[in-house]
Structure formats: C-alpha cells, structure tokens
Amino acid sequence: FRFKESLAEELQSAELVISHAGAGSCLETLEKGKPLIVVINDKLMDNHQLELAKQLHRDGCVLYCNCSTLVETLQSMNLSALKPFPPGQPEKFASFLDKVFGLQ
C-alpha cells in the first residue's frame, strides 16, 4: 500500500481521514469534503508542517494533534463543526503569468 499512485478511491469511500500534514494529503482530503484530523510529525527539521495545519485549524477546516494526543482527539471530536474548505484558484495564477508575458 505504501506507494500507491493515487488514494482517490480510498478517500472517496472514507468517512474520516487521519493524516500527516503534507499539503497533498490535506488538500486532496479537504477538497473531497471529508473530515480531516491532521497529525504533526515532530521529527522533521523545522516542522513547517505545523503552519498549514494551524492555519487550517484557525479557519475551522481541520482538527489537529500530534501522535500522543491522537486518541484524546478521536474521543472528543465534533466533526460537524468543521467548515468547508474553498478550492484554490489556479486561474488567477494563469492570468498573472499571461500579464507578465503580455499574453492577455
């Protein structure tokens, strides 16, 4: 299972996702509208993963914890309070680049 190409199928049928804070995992899960608990890996160098998880948590989109507090989080979670996550807008990026190169 470790390096399966896409988790889309599994995600689609899941009711709750517990994941590390990698951008791909978080975004894919939130975009499918699945409730997400993000678990932070304390061992990565500057732990920048925390920033996204904290922000998503501030925005009310995910629950977050670390390995030792996971059980507690699972026991006390309220998934219906999670807010939907609006999608990013790559078209704004395309528009910006087109302006840079005079391609509008």
Binding site: F3, E5, A21, G22, A23, G24, L27, L44, M45, D46, H48, Q49, E51, L52, K54, Q55, P86, G88, Q89, P90, E91, K92, F93, A94, F96, L97, D98, V100, F101, L103
Partner: protein
C-alpha cells in the same frame, strides 16, 4: 517530490498552450513524480494535441535534515548538472515551487542571464504549506527570482517584494 509535484501540476492546469514545450526537471531520487507528470501531460494532450514536454533528472541538491555545509556541497554538485541542462534548454520561463532541486536550476538560469547568454524569467511560487515562514529555497530565491508568489497574507507582509494572489493551488 510528492507535494511539490502535485502543487506545480495544479499551477500548470490553467495555463494556455503558449507555455509549451514544458521541460520538467526532477531529482534523480524522486520515484513518484514522473508518473504524476506523465498522467498530467497525457490528459493535456487530449485537449491540446500538439502539446510537448520532456523530463530531465539532476542529482538531488539536499536531503531533509541534511546539514548546512554538506548542503552547499551537494547543491554545487547539482549545479554542475543543471548548468549544461539550462544552457541546452534555454527556457523563457522557469516555474518552481520550492523543492531543493529548483535552487541549482534557478541559479544556473540566473548565471546564464548575468553572462548575457539567455534571459530567463524566474517565477517562484511558495508552497501552500508556508503560511508564516519561507522554505529554505524560498529564502534563497526571494533574491534571485523575478516574481516571488506567496499564498498567505502573513508572508506578503513579511516579504513585501512578493506577490499575493490568494490561494492558487
């Protein structure tokens, strides 16, 4: 690698065919990105039949948690590969979003620009993971890129020369 590849393919998703051919540069140790890229390009070719792309690999500049000193050495080694590659491709635009692999490529392009061999526009998009601080690649390329894009307002405040377009992936 992984998350970076997913993000960059999303950035590419709305670009017109003016941005073609696309040359992807990967770290030699990256096993998963190639499949994602081929899948993306295959889908793209369904809409734009003349779509072209290529894949090149260079030595990985830096492993996670690698020390400062050895990182400089391995990055210099990667530049030995990225310089001839960048010279060969002479891109009009380099788009990158933060893996260590992008640093030697951008520095090579910057150097070729200084030497008046090819002027490449360097666009750096910091990962959506970066809300309050820049990645190491970001900190370096903030000074070498033509456009430095951040996805959260805190970073725009801290790095005033950056561009903030909101979330774009």
């Amino acid at each position: 690698t992984g998350g970076h590849t997913t993000e960059i393919l999303r950035l590419l998703s709305c670009l017109s065919e003016s941005y073609s051919p696309r040359h992807y540069v990967l770290a030699d140790s990256d096993k998963m990105s190639e499949a994602k890229i081929r899948s993306f390009e295959q889908k793209r070719a369904e809409t734009f039949s003349k779509s072209q792309f290529s894949l090149d690999r260079i030595p990985r500049s830096r492993e996670v948690r690698q020390s400062w000193i050895s990182s400089v050495v391995t990055t210099l080694y990667s530049i030995l590969y990225s310089l001839p590659l960048t010279y060969k491709r002479k891109p009009d635009l380099i788009l990158c979003n933060g893996p260590g692999t992008c640093v030697p490529v951008c520095l090579s392009a910057f150097l070729l620009g200084l030497l008046r061999i090819k002027r490449t526009v360097i666009v750096y998009v910091e990962s959506i993971c970066r809300v309050e601080t820049l990645s190491l690649s970001g900190k370096i390329l903030y000074y070498f890129s033509d456009y430095f894009i951040v996805q959260w307002p805190d970073l725009k405040k801290k790095y005033p020369k950056s561009v903030y377009l909101g979330r774009i992936v």
